[in-house]
Amino acid sequence: MSSPVLEVRALKKYFPARRRLFGGAATWVKAVDGVDITVHAGETLGLIGESGCGKTTTSKLILLQETPTAGTISFEGRDIASLQGSDLMAYRRAVQVVFQDPFSSLSPRMRVGDIIAEPLEIHTDLARAAIDERVGTVLELVGLAPDVAPLFPHEFSGGQRQRIAIARALVTDTRLIVLDEPVSALDVSVRAQIITQLEELQRALGVSYLFIGHDLATVAHISHRIAVMYLGKIVETAASDALCARPMHPYTQALFAAALPSHPDDRTETKAITGEVPSALSLPSGCRFHPRCPSAMPVCSQIEPVLRPRDGGGEVACHLYD
């Protein structure tokens, strides 16, 4: 595997939930609680989990939308917390994001060309002609005609808007794109277009993706490796094939059991796991998954398992494999 682009180590983000009258917070929501992930050059890391698991907070931390409570995020070997001035701008140029809702991510009052050109205007002093040329190039990259630049976003369908958002993310010398559920809001027949387009762009440009999603089949399809997140922690990481072949953590297994079949013959009679994700305000002791875990043992409610190497590569945090 090539060199790591993004390395997240022991990342924590706590939000104050209730404040005392004086002084600090009385309780904390541990949205992200010791997360380690690595994204290599030209690779897609899938980050999967249910709502409230901390995957969106993780992406906000990487995008400098929030500051971590503890832990480090390094990009190409440098801690991004220490970046200042032109180094910081270089990071902002190298890391871009595509959000879920293409109707919210394009300003209704700006022309498509200006939307895509914005990062260039912020970071470079290119002449108008050079900017227009670059905009035309990325529009072609994402499968749109360069002459759509003067149009407004409302003239495009959801899938086309998402292409515009991707074009914008590519307009600078981007090395990492955070894809935050980029196809969840699209029509089914359009989803495959966007996924395929993203895969092609990665092959052509060598850009890395952090693909955040909740749909196992989609995440597994586009990702090289997958990290499964539950209540602020990574419970299992593995190569996509290895994880699909043998999910080891009971939560990963539950996700697979809950995944929808791709053929009526694949219907399983195994029941989905019971219960719901507990509130991040009052985390269970020991392993966070133990109240819902079908194979919970006494030790699970006392000692929190740590990530250990698992069979077939990757890591798993579960007492079953101690």
Binding site: Q96, P108, I115, H123
Partner: protein, 302 residues
């Protein structure tokens, strides 16, 4: 599903042809009336020097005081709407008064809108203690009765048209600040604003490129609805003697000066300026209402 909003929109369109139809139709034709009134007044104000028969500040030579309008007994075509207690021509004073009302109305709104929009954006986008301070100030502002506050300020700085404009701007900016702040708070959470921040855009750039263009609609509608309020405030201040100083012709001042004769049967001294105020405020409100419907993205596509 996307069909649902489309359907409800279609449904709304259908009801418009029913009992609501008359109302909707009236609202559509309202701007025409409003535009005619406002356009007429602007024209009159601009061409006041040409069309006013007399100097509004001096008595008409040879005319008496309290000459009634021409159609009444004792009236004269030379002073078609009569003369006031100094023998000045009412029509000429009304024509020049339109200038004062429009200038104060528009400029006052501009000042209020400028301060209010800036404060609203600052408060909503920067947030934190800036937001706290601005919002507490607007709270305090709103707690004071606007007119009393304006009188107080006018008494401090002395009466003049330009002072009135600044004072009214300073009194009425708070409503802008509140509405714009609310708008900015929702805009700030939109993905395109986040994308600009993630791309490294400075706060100033985000405000200029993303926030301001998206609050301009609201600000425009608010402005069109504020003009009337400012005009009434100006008239009230002038009426109370802390507005435009005599002998300048302002509608509010004319009302004030005519007050002692109100009971004496010289109705033309009060009715004409009163009608002018009513007309201009009505016209701006109608126009503002029409603008609000036009600029509302929910109804624009109908």
């Amino acid at each position: 599903m996307a069909t649902i909003p489309a359907n409800t929109r279609l449904a709304a369109r259908r009801t418009a042809s029913g009992w609501l139809g008359a109302l909707v139709k009236a609202a559509r034709e309202a701007p025409l009336m409003a535009v005619i009134i406002l356009g007429g007044l602007v024209l009159v104000a601009l061409l006041a020097d040409l069309i006013a028969p007399y100097d509004p500040t001096l008595p008409v030579k040879g005319a008496e005081m309290f000459v009634p309008p021409f159609w009444m007994e004792g009236g004269s075509v030379a002073t078609p709407l009569g003369t006031d207690f100094q023998g000045r021509d009412i029509l000429s004073r009304l024509i020049y008064g339109a200038r004062v009302s429009l200038v104060v109305g528009l400029m006052g709104t501009l000042v209020a809108g400028g301060i209010g929009t800036a404060m609203g954006i600052l408060s909503g986008y920067v947030g934190g203690w800036v937001d706290q301070i601005i919002m507490r100030v607007t709270d305090a502002w709103l707690a004071l009765p606007a007119i009393v506050f304006a009188i107080f300020l006018a008494a401090m700085v002395g009466p003049s048209m330009w002072n009135i404009i600044v004072i009214l701007g300073a009194v009425y900016w708070t409503r802008y600040a509140r509405v714009i702040r609310g708008e900015v708070l929702t805009l700030r959470e939109r993905d395109f604003v986040k994308l600009a921040e993630i791309a490294g855009a400075s706060k100033l750039r985000v405000i200029k490129k993303h926030i301001l263009p998206n609050v301009m609609n609201t600000a425009t509608v608010l402005a069109s609805l504020t003009v009337g309020v400012v005009i009434i405030a100006e008239a009230s201040l002038s009426f109370l003697g802390v507005g435009v100083p005599p002998p300048q012709p302002a509608w509010g001042l004319m009302l004030s000066e005519a007050r002692p004769t109100l009971m004496a049967g010289q109705w033309w001294l009060t009715v004409f300026p009163g009608a002018c105020i009513l007309l201009i405020v009505l016209a701006t409100q109608l126009f503002g209402d029409w603008l609000r419907v036009r600029l509302d993205p929910q109804t624009r596509n109908l």
